[in-house]
């Protein structure tokens, strides 16, 4: 059966833990009104589907992509696994256009966590109050203290493997599973850090270091960005979707949501989705959008109607604006020793020093940086696009592969209105207007990038690296539908609930008012758990 045909239907869904296996799934008719229709099953939507179903709500979660069985369908091969990415047409512009596709966007049940690097870090507590505590960006409408129990819940749900004592952040319990051994690529960072007297740590990772249920321990095969073929990785597909199904949620794969429909009473009625070439309508008491920072604003903009001519839930005009990415300039060096950085998860050592120390900075903002492990195809892209090498010079450079190491930061960028998602005139295969993404770095972003390149170069040199060179890149996408405490300056409130349409919610990376200096998925999942609890509370008070 090809992955491009829906599989989750007729009362069953693929069993991610068994070859050719199935698990039972509760199904709902289109005309049946469900409590929650969720658009997207990634870090935000998949987590929320499980938590809401476990709270007893009827849930249908839609995903435009396939419902994979990793054991059957994830090859150890970069080219083959491009099938995990969102590759529908998008336009990227601005002074610093962001690379999209596999660089940041997944398509399939489990979302971008299918191909993420599993780095599971908490926010620096002060970032939730960036404006009032640190003097830049915006305050979040919630505090670290409110999110902390949910961080703990998610770390437990993913059995995050991490060090006994993690050097940064608030007081915390030890990680559920023991830390992974650090590969040579990570030991380069460690050596640099120790010689410079700066703290480093092994990275807390959402891949298990010991057997867990049907997940075997990680075998350090290094293909994490191309899907984990063994299920050691605790992606949303493996960690939350089975819970959602057990609790009675329906997952509809290969189902692209094209429009959310508003009733005359100002409440959402349901949504239109395309599956197997035809359009259907799902009635719902509530709709949650969780399509990530490009598709979430795009869907709201494409759902413009008489009451909301500039986009559904967009009376503020902020939908799609304040889009952020993490800057990710690389610094690379050659080492006398063999590093063989293809072994192990790609990022095994980190320093969050510049997330927690603000003294020597010439910019407000933060960054962490990690060791790297690109596979050959990805490495060739970095070498060709940044060095412009070709011919035998390229082949010669690529032969240094096993002696290379490098560092890449997760660099904060400022939330600015001009960085945004808008609609282009062109339409996609569903007849929906495609997104245009505009992004430019601010002067401040550029100072942060330069600072990070200097410190990373110091690390590599201290570790014995030679012939240093730099590359440009970005990683995660955040913002576009930010949460806040004022309807005039935000799209949703702290519960992810639209200020304009009371039964419309957002639950994904687009909620972020600022983007911090760590990878976002732990925070997205913690927010999803918190939103689920808030919905439960509001329901019990009759306030949905």
């Amino acid at each position: 059966m090809t992955a491009e045909l829906p599989r989750a239907r007729n009362g069953r869904a693929p069993d991610v833990f068994r070859r050719d296996g199935w698990v039972p799934m509760r199904c709902h008719a289109d005309h049946e009104t469900v409590d929650f229709a969720i658009v997207g099953t990634g870090a935000g939507g998949g987590t929320l589907a499980a938590r809401l179903a476990e709270a007893g709500f009827s849930v249908v979660a839609f995903d435009a992509g396939p419902f994979w069985r990793p054991l059957d369908e994830f090859a150890s091969d970069e080219a083959e696994q491009q099938k995990l990415y969102w590759t529908d047409d998008r336009i990227t512009g601005g002074a610093d256009p962001i690379a999209l596709g596999g660089n940041n966007s997944g398509r399939g049940v489990g979302g971008s966590t299918i191909h993420f690097s599993m780095i599971s870090l908490r926010w620096r507590p002060e970032w939730f109050k960036a404006r009032s505590r640190l003097g830049y960006g915006f305050d979040w409408p919630i505090s670290y203290e409110e999110v902390a129990p949910y961080y703990e819940e998610v770390e437990e749900a993913l059995k995050v493997s991490g060090p006994v004592n993690y050097p940064w952040g608030g007081k915390r319990r030890r990680y559920p599973y023991r830390a992974h051994p650090v590969n040579a690529a990570g030991l380069v960072l460690a050596r640099g850090a120790e010689r410079l007297g700066i703290e480093w740590s092994s990275v807390p990772l959402a891949t298990v270091s010991a057997p867990r249920g049907k997940s075997p321990p990680c075998v350090y095969r290094g293909f994490c960005n191309f899907g984990c073929s063994t299920n050691a990785k605790q992606s949303v597909l493996v960690a939350w979707i089975p819970r959602a199904l057990r609790a009675g949620a329906e997952i509809r794969d290969m189902a692209m949501v094209g429009r959310i429909t508003l009733a005359p009473n100002g409440r959402v009625r349901g949504l239109e989705f395309q599956r197997e070439g035809s359009w259907h309508f799902q009635h719902a008491r509530n709709v949650v959008v969780a399509g990530y920072a490009i598709e979430t604003p795009r869907l709201l903009l494409n759902s413009a109607c008489r009451q909301f001519p500039q986009g559904l839930a967009n009376s503020s005009g902020l939908v799609g604006t304040h889009l952020m990415t993490h800057s990710g300039p690389g610094v690379w060096a050659t080492f006398e020793e063999e590093v063989r950085w293809y072994k192990g998860p790609p990022n095994m050592a980190v320093t969050e020093h510049w997330n927690y120390h603000d003294e020597d900075k010439d910019f407000p903002g933060s960054y962490a940086f990690m060791s790297q492990g690109p596979l050959p195809r990805a490495w060739a892209q970095i070498v060709t696009t940044n060095r412009g090498l070709w011919g035998s010079a390229l082949q010669q450079e690529m032969r240094k592969y096993n002696h290379m190491a490098g560092l890449v930061p997760v660099g904060e960028t400022e939330p600015r209105p001009e960085n945004r998602v808008e609609l282009a005139e062109e339409e996609d295969q569903y007849g929906l207007r495609i997104p245009r993404v505009l992004f430019s770095y601010s002067d401040n972003d550029r100072r942060l990038i330069e600072h990070s390149k200097r410190t990373m170069a110091q690390f590599l040199e201290a570790a014995g690296g030679r012939d240093l060179w730099e590359s440009k890149d970005t990683s995660h996408l955040l913002g576009g539908c930010r949460m806040g405490s004022d309807p005039a300056t935000s799209v949703v409130n702290a519960d992810g609930r639209s200020w304009d349409v009371p039964n419309l919610w957002i639950c994904d990376g687009s909620l972020f008012p600022t983007c911090g200096g760590v990878n976002p998925s732990l925070t997205i999942q913690a927010l999803a758990c918190r939103i689920a609890d808030r919905i439960k509370t509001l329901a019990s008070r009759g306030e949905l």
């Binding site: 059957d72 369908e73 994830f74 090859a75 150890s76 091969d77 080219a79 491009q82 990415y85 590759t87 047409d89 998008r90 336009i91 990227t92 512009g93 596999g102 051994p181 590969n183 040579a184 030991l187 990680c218 075998v219 350090y220 095969r221 290094g222 293909f223 073929s229 063994t230 050659t334 020793e337 063999e338 063989r340 293809y342 072994k343 192990g344 596979l375 050959p376 195809r377 490495w379 060739a380 892209q381 070498v383 060709t384 696009t385 412009g388 070709w390 011919g391 035998s392 390229l394 010669q396 450079e397 690529m398 032969r399 240094k400 592969y401 096993n402 002696h403 993404v437 030679r466 012939d467």
Partner: protein, 225 residues
């Protein structure tokens, strides 16, 4: 995958694909290592390859798609250009790059985004190749195929730097680096011969790796010649 397939691409695969290597590329770390005696496909029947990966790689090696989209002239030009971007004179069976570019264009499946102002995938390639041909025609009546390798390299370098004379409806430097070169390198480094050349471990499922430290090597990893 069916068992037929497995036997077909099983043990015989190595002998089936004659290999040749650069003999003169030994060197120290900074000059680039040589793994002349390493062949990632030698692991075909070991726990580093699972059935799915075997079938995916067998298809890449054996089911190279026929040209469907590009014209014969475009194919000829692309073949010549790719021979400069990723030369492989030493290989009796060179890694095929043009057919996979054609296949991508035929399926109209790019990487999912394009720069504001650029036309869609197929048009970008068509226009870029036409401009490259026009650029070559400006330097001599023989066009790209009439040039020596040195002249071809000089022309390509100018295109890479955006120092062009012809009309380029897609920016020359962008087309060269982000469309042509990046795609060519993607395809080249998706082939086992290229993995062997750089000493990459290759497929690693279900067996991964055990020895992760500096200068540590599992017995199933590449050894320097």
């Amino acid at each position: 995958m069916n068992p037929m397939h497995l036997t077909r691409y099983g043990r015989s695969l190595r002998t089936h694909l004659p290999r040749a290597r650069n003999g003169d590329l030994r060197g120290n770390a900074t000059a680039g290592a040589s793994y002349a005696r390493y062949d990632v496909l030698a692991k075909w029947d070991t726990p580093s390859f699972d059935d799915l990966t075997r079938s995916v790689i067998a298809a890449r090696l054996e089911e190279v798609p026929p040209i469907c989209f590009l014209s014969p002239d475009e194919v000829r030009l692309l073949d010549l250009v790719l021979a400069r971007l990723l030369p492989q004179p030493e290989r009796s069976r060179p890694i095929p790059i043009t057919p996979w570019i054609d296949d991508m264009l035929n399926r109209n499946q790019g990487e999912g985004y394009r720069l504001d102002g650029l036309p869609p995938l197929r048009e970008t390639w068509r226009k870029g190749l036409a401009a490259l041909a026009a650029e070559a025609a400006l330097t001599g009546p023989g066009g790209f195929s009439g040039m020596s390798k040195t002249e071809q390299d000089r022309l390509l370098r100018n295109v890479q730097l955006g120092e062009v004379l012809a009309e380029w409806p897609v920016p020359a430097a962008h087309f060269f680096t982000h469309v042509l070169l990046k795609t060519a390198a993607d395809i080249y480094y998706s082939y086992p011969d290229a993995w062997s050349e750089i000493g990459f471990g290759g497929p690693a499922s279900p067996r991964g790796y055990v020895r992760l430290g500096f200068d540590e090597r599992d017995s199933w990893e590449a050894k320097r010649a």
